[in-house]
Symmetry: C2
Subunit: 293 residues, 2 copies
């Protein structure tokens, strides 16, 4: 029998722990951690994510500030706001919700954020420090995956871990974390991607598979060995006539086929997804406590 | 028959190309690229490396400055010198030769260097930008390995590349470069290390093996499949009664056993080693031309 990794339950548990810490901080006379979120335009997905982030801040007792710009905001205006937030001493961390309109350089925006307030962990200083193994803000999805492995005490040392996907926000950083010394880590890590030729063979040797390529139901039962732990990072909206919204979220894993072979598996939704927001909250808490920089 | 990758010849070729560019720069009225090297104490290895670096600068027409400190220099004095070099507009790049005496934090020193002058590529900004795939100073050994693959036109796309060793200066960065989009890259990359359980099996599936663990003659013939390309990064001093110095350099590869199975193989010495200095020269040239920052 396989265990379904309950990301929703774990995320609630971590939020309770964070809320407890916030209470103690405030009892000690400190102000609440404060996160700001910048959102540009009216992308449906982005608005939903930001609303979740703001709500999660309330749940754990953080102060949150939502800063909205219209689609036609100039890069200069956005960078000026970032500079203002960098200098705001009442603010511990902030993020700019991606994607941005095409006339604004996402990379320029990311690098404009003071890395000490970069709780999304996208600034090169945080990416580099993570790679080197120094204290830093780890980005939300890799951090959430690691937390799930830890909470379910899934063995990683000496295990073959296959990461499918080499994106900057999931594949590459989670591979780095899985090969680091200590637990969770010490895994033998293989990164596969669109150019990989013998993917099925490679996956069949994996004790842990992290699927992060963004192709619905890509990982099928015949690619997974018995007893593997499977982490599904995919969240693609696919049309559905069974939901009111007209779509449903699909993972990268063909759950019904893969699950029976697994020791552990994350569902979509309710697996990695809910963990990403708590990773952001954890980074903000670390920022408020001054524990990284 | 296998091809011995001649790192010495390639390094001379790259130096000739760099010298040509320097001539053109100077003909256009610009000053020569200028590299400074800080060395602390009298470690034999370090003194040799620094002497090579200074000599190589001369060969290609760079200006070089060697700055020596005794073992008892304080961290504050060293950091003050770094600050001075950061602000010196006549200087394009500089490095602090490692290792440093134990009373000085290497990480603090590395982070004190302005990343725009960090031609060793060790600063978190450069490490992070490399991971993300942005222009940056790539550190010497990974950069040298990539250059060798390129000059010998060794196919990498879709190939299985096994990196043995997960160090910050070789294993992790070269793995990142090998999985990047484009050539040389697009490889399926597996990073192995001391905790890896089935190393021989994994190596036997590799089209390219990069051995960077620092254990003399670790990779033996039975671990390599026919036609593999093998890059040996090891340079361990082992005692020898056949040399005047009383030691010889040993690679991580048992050359006599492994070479006959290979398509390409680097020798030690004369493989990756000579490439590291030219990578430093290339970064300094890029710095002088302002091509990265």
């Amino acid at each position: 029998m396989y265990t379904i990794i309950d990301g929703k339950a774990i995320s609630e548990q971590v939020k309770t722990e964070i809320a407890e810490e916030v209470k103690q901080m405030m009892a000690a006379g400190k102000r609440a951690p404060h996160l700001a979120v910048i959102i540009v335009g009216h992308d449906g997905g982005s608005e939903t994510y930001v609303a979740h982030k703001v709500k999660s801040c309330e749940q754990v007792g953080f102060t949150s500030t939502k800063i909205m710009f219209e689609d036609n905001v100039t890069e200069i205006e956005l960078l000026a706001k970032i500079e203002e937030l960098n200098n705001n001493k009442e603010l511990d961390g902030f993020i700019v919700q991606l994607p941005l309109p095409k006339h604004i350089s996402e990379q320029k925006v990311i690098e404009a954020i003071d890395y000490r307030k970069d709780v999304d962990g996208f600034h090169p200083v945080n990416v580099g420090r993570m790679s080197i193994g120094l204290p830093c803000y780890v980005s939300a999805t890799p951090s959430g995956i690691i937390e799930l492995l830890k909470r379910y005490e899934i063995p990683t040392s000496g295990k073959n871990c296959v990461v499918i996907g080499r994106s900057n926000i999931v594949g590459k950083p989670v591979a780095t974390l899985m090969m680091q010394k200590g637990y969770p880590g010490d895994a033998t890590v293989t990164v596969c991607h669109s150019r990989t030729k013998n993917l099925k063979e490679i996956c069949l040797q994996a004790d842990i598979i992290i699927a992060a390529l963004g192709m619905p139901e890509f990982l099928t039962g015949d690619m997974v060995k018995n007893g593997a732990a499977v982490i599904d990072v995919g969240t693609t909206r696919v049309p559905s006539d069974k939901t009111k919204s007209g779509f449903r979220l699909s993972g990268d894993v063909k759950f019904d086929e893969v699950a029976p072979k697994c020791s552990f598996i994350t569902p979509v939704p309710g697996g990695v997804g809910p963990m990403t927001i708590v990773s952001l909250l954890k980074n903000t808490l670390l920022a408020a406590k001054g524990e990284i920089y």
